[in-house]
Structure formats: structure tokens, C-alpha cells
């Protein structure tokens, strides 16, 4: 479980996050939603320490992340997996080497043990026979799967996903969402995902935090969102007439 308390972040005069607080549960799909520029990525980057925050607290299972020393942060980070928007695979390494990289760095396993684990996670993300390929030879969806495999190879307790569906077709998006949801439940991971994708919100949102202009405006789950009266949230979620009709039908039962 991750607790975020009064997180604020500004760039010069621009306040990007303003006193955001929330609790992100383990074994749940915690979704951070909001329009472009609402502070979702900054929120995620502050949480993992890629950006310093102005004030606030971040507690990973009660451990204060902000006041940890470098060694403690390093240890905690071995329990964090992250799936980046652009996958962030290492160009010069093959799929196998990319996934094996955290094992090489942080474990003393033998090569055969590492290979076994790599094949296990690649199998888990439904990616077989691509071990020798380089990232440049993969499609967008395959890259995301490799990045997901790399993120979970060390059995993390926390998984951060920054818009994992961006640039993917709806069908592939659903596959990636399903994979992340399954892995979250299977390994009881605290998953935090930034997304714009309404399919993801409606299919996977166990806990949804809606950011509007840097502040938390709404929090709930995929059921609550249908009945939400918040005007800005409704404008964001049900942007098209088609979705508005779908909402009306759902509300009528």
C-alpha cells in the first residue's frame, strides 16, 4: 500500500500538483486519470523519486520514502517496477538481455537460473520466440510486453505504469490492460497506472483518482464513476456522445 499525503510540486511559478493526497491499495489497479497537463506524469515521477517534490509525504507500506537515505531508497527501488510510456527498452540489448538486466544487476543467480526466470516472465506476458530480437524489430505492443516483463522480473511489490496504452490500437490496449490487471492480482502488487484510456478505467479501475489542474478532484472506483455527479469528471470521461449514451443506458440499468 502506498499513502500519498499533501503532495505538491511546482515548476517556477507554475503549480503542477497542489496538495494531492490518496491511498493506493495493494493487489489493486490504482488509476490516475486526468486530461493532458493535469499533472499525472509528474505525480508518478514524484512518487518514484525521479522528481523532487516541494512538500508532502510518500509512504511505501509505512516507510517514509522522502526521508530515506540513498541506500534505503536503492533497496526500495529494487521492489519497484516501472512501465514507461515509450517502453524505455535498452536499444543495444536483445529482448532476453533487456529482461535479464535487473537479474544481472541485483541477483547472484547462475545463467541457467536467470534464463529460466526470463523465459518464465516472457511466457507470462505471452511473448515467445522473440528472445533474440532487438527492440527496433518489435511492434509497439510487443515492446510494452517486454517492458512489462522487465518490470516484473524481480517480483516487485509496486508497479508503476505511465500511460501503457499510448500509441496502441484498442485491441492491443485491452490485452496489455488485461495482462497488467492479471499480474497485479496474481502477485498482489500495488499497481499505479496513469491513463487516458476509458476502456482501462471501466474495465480495471479498482481505485481511481481524478486529477484536475493539479488537484485531486474525485476518487472512487469503476462503479462509482458511472454515477458521479462531478461535471468536470463527466466531461472528461464521457467526452463523446456515444459514451454519454452508454452512461445513460448503464444508469437506467
Amino acid at each position: 500500500m502506498i499513502e500519498v499525503k499533501n503532495l505538491s510540486k511546482s515548476f517556477g511559478q507554475k503549480q503542477v500538483l497542489d496538495n494531492v493526497s490518496c491511498v493506493l491499495g495493494s493487489g489493486q489497479m490504482n488509476l490516475i486519470i486526468g486530461t493532458s497537463g493535469s499533472g499525472k506524469t509528474v505525480f508518478l515521477k514524484c512518487m518514484v523519486g525521479l522528481m523532487d517534490l516541494d512538500h508532502g509525504e510518500i509512504l511505501y507500506d509505512g516507510q517514509d520514502f522522502i526521508h530515506m537515505n540513498d541506500k534505503e531508497k536503492k533497496e526500495l527501488r529494487t521492489q519497484i517496477g516501472m512501465l514507461f510510456q515509450g517502453s524505455a527498452l535498452f536499444d543495444s540489448l536483445t529482448v532476453e538481455q533487456n529482461v535479464m538486466f535487473p537479474l544481472d544487476m541485483f541477483t547472484k543467480q547462475t545463467l541457467s537460473e536467470k534464463l529460466k526466470r526470463v523465459n518464465e516472465v516472457l511466457d507470462r506476458v505471452n511473448l515467445k520466440d522473440s528472445n533474440r530480437k532487438y527492440p527496433a524489430e518489435l511492434s509497439g505492443g510487443m515492446k510494452k510486453r517486454v517492458a512489462l516483463a522487465r518490470a516484473i522480473v524481480l517480483n516487485p511489490k509496486y508497479l508503476f505504469c505511465d500511460e501503457p496504452n499510448s500509441g496502441l490500437d484498442p485491441q492491443t490496449s485491452l490485452v496489455i490492460d488485461k495482462l497488467i490487471t492479471e499480474i497485479t492480482k496474481e502477485y498482489n502488487i500495488t499497481t499505479i497506472m496513469n491513463t487516458h484510456d476509458m476502456n482501462t478505467v471501466m474495465e480495471s479501475g479498482d481505485n481511481i483518482v481524478y486529477l484536475y489542474q493539479g488537484s485531486k478532484r474525485w476518487e472512487g472506483n469503476k462503479e462509482d464513476i458511472i454515477f458521479s455527479e462531478d461535471e468536470k469528471l463527466n466531461q472528461f470521461i464521457f467526452a463523446s456522445e456515444f459514451l454519454q449514451d452508454a452512461k445513460r443506458m448503464r444508469m437506467r440499468g
Partner: protein, 246 residues
């Protein structure tokens, strides 16, 4: 001026942060060997070509300028030897390497920065400065002086071939020139320069590449800036070392 000081401060911090305990020394060693190959072996071709022609051209041009019955022929070989050891091999080859190796380091790190590969390493708990920059500087420190030694040898050899083929002097005269009044410190001085320049090329390029912000355009700009600043600093260091040590 403030901007330059800011860059200098960040550069020093980068160098300080680079020294931390490796997470896994085997992986770092592998990366070091990889960088030795990337920086050394991949630059060998251009170093060979430049060095041979540098020696050959210096021979022909020195002979052209020293048409005097009072000057012995072997003096041309002495001039080639000393100018190669003192200046041509360390400085000219390192300026070329600033272009070849420097732009490669800057664009590689810049690309890793904009595609979030560096962030991915940070998230894993890896000190990215130690993992990405230290092996490049260490490899440059090892292989660039070796390339300079190869260059010195080839440059003198190029001079010898040009001298004999063009009839400027014969083999005995050239050999006499090479050993007569040889000062071993000149060779040491050339090596001191090559170590200094190796550090400048790798650390400056790594600094500009590591701190790229933006996209493809900024990677190109960082790469160009890295090469230009490296070349300028090489020339400053060249003068500084000559004034201090000679």
C-alpha cells in the same frame, strides 16, 4: 558567465556522483570492456589513416622548407619524430577523436535520456552516473593513450615511407634522425597529453549527453556542443601542458 559556472558546477557534481559502489562489479566490468571496444577498436581505422598521412605529409612539407646545404637530411626525420610525439599524434588525433568518440558518447547518452532509458535505470536503483559514465571515462583513459601510441608509430612509419619513396632521404638517414638527440621525456609528454585529452573528450561529451532535455533536435545540439567544447578545451590544455611541462 553564470551559465558557464552553472555548467561547471553540474559537471563537477557529475564527476563526484560517478564514484559509488557498483551494484554488481561483473556487469560494470562487462560494460567497461564493451566501451573499450566501442571507443578503441571502432576508432582504430580512422586513427590509422590519419596517422600515416600525417607523417607522410609532414615529411614532404618539412623537406620542402629545409632546402639548405647547411642542414643535414636526417634533421627532417628528427623534426618528424619530435613533432609527432609532442604535438601531431596527441593533439590532432585527439581532436579527431573528439568528433568520433565524443559525438557518439553524447548522442548515445542523449538518446537514452530522451527515451527514458536513464529513468528506467534509476527506477531499478542503479546509479546511472556510475553505470553509464564511469565505464566510458575509464575506457577512454585506457584506449585513447593506446591509440595515440599506435598513431605515433604509424605517423613515423608514414614519414619514413614518404621520405624513401619521394627520395627526400634514404633509410640510413631517416634511422639516424630518429635516434639522434632523442629526448625520452618527449614521449612521456605526448602520453601525458593523451591521458588529459582522453579525460576531456569522454567527460565533457558524457556531461552534455547525460543532461539533454527535449528530443532529437536537442540530442544533435548536445552532440555538436560536446565536440566543440571538447576541441576548445583540448587546445587550452595543449597550451597549458606545454607551458607547464616543457
Amino acid at each position: 558567465m553564470i551559465r558557464a559556472l552553472e555548467h561547471f558546477g553540474r559537471y563537477l557534481l557529475m564527476l563526484k556522483d560517478m564514484f559509488s559502489k557498483p551494484e554488481n562489479s561483473k556487469v560494470y566490468w562487462k560494460e567497461f570492456i564493451h566501451q573499450c571496444n566501442e571507443i578503441g577498436i571502432r576508432s582504430l581505422g580512422i586513427v590509422i589513416i590519419i596517422s600515416v598521412f600525417l607523417g607522410a605529409v609532414t615529411t614532404v612539407q618539412t623537406a620542402y622548407q629545409l632546402i639548405s646545404p647547411l642542414v643535414q637530411k636526417y634533421v627532417i626525420a628528427q623534426i618528424i619524430r619530435d613533432s609527432t610525439f609532442l604535438e601531431l599524434s596527441p593533439t590532432v588525433v585527439c581532436i579527431v577523436l573528439a568528433g568520433v568518440v565524443g559525438s557518439k558518447i553524447a548522442s548515445e547518452l542523449g538518446n537514452m535520456r530522451v527515451t527514458e532509458q536513464i529513468d528506467a535505470l534509476e527506477i531499478m536503483g542503479i546509479n546511472t552516473k556510475t553505470y553509464l559514465i564511469l565505464p566510458k571515462i575509464a575506457a577512454s583513459f585506457v584506449v585513447i593513450p593506446l591509440l595515440i601510441v599506435v598513431s605515433m608509430f604509424l605517423s613515423v612509419w608514414g614519414g619514413y615511407i614518404a621520405a624513401v619513396m619521394s627520395g627526400v632521404m634514404n633509410e640510413e638517414q631517416f634511422s639516424l634522425g630518429l635516434i639522434k638527440d632523442f629526448i625520452p621525456f618527449n614521449l612521456t609528454f605526448g602520453l601525458i597529453k593523451s591521458f588529459t585529452f582522453a579525460f576531456i573528450i569522454s567527460s565533457i561529451s558524457a556531461y552534455f549527453g547525460y543532461h539533454v532535455k527535449g528530443g532529437a533536435l536537442e540530442i544533435g545540439q548536445a552532440s555538436t556542443t560536446a565536440v566543440v567544447i571538447s576541441c576548445i578545451l583540448i587546445l587550452f590544455a595543449d597550451y597549458g601542458l606545454a607551458a607547464l611541462l616543457l
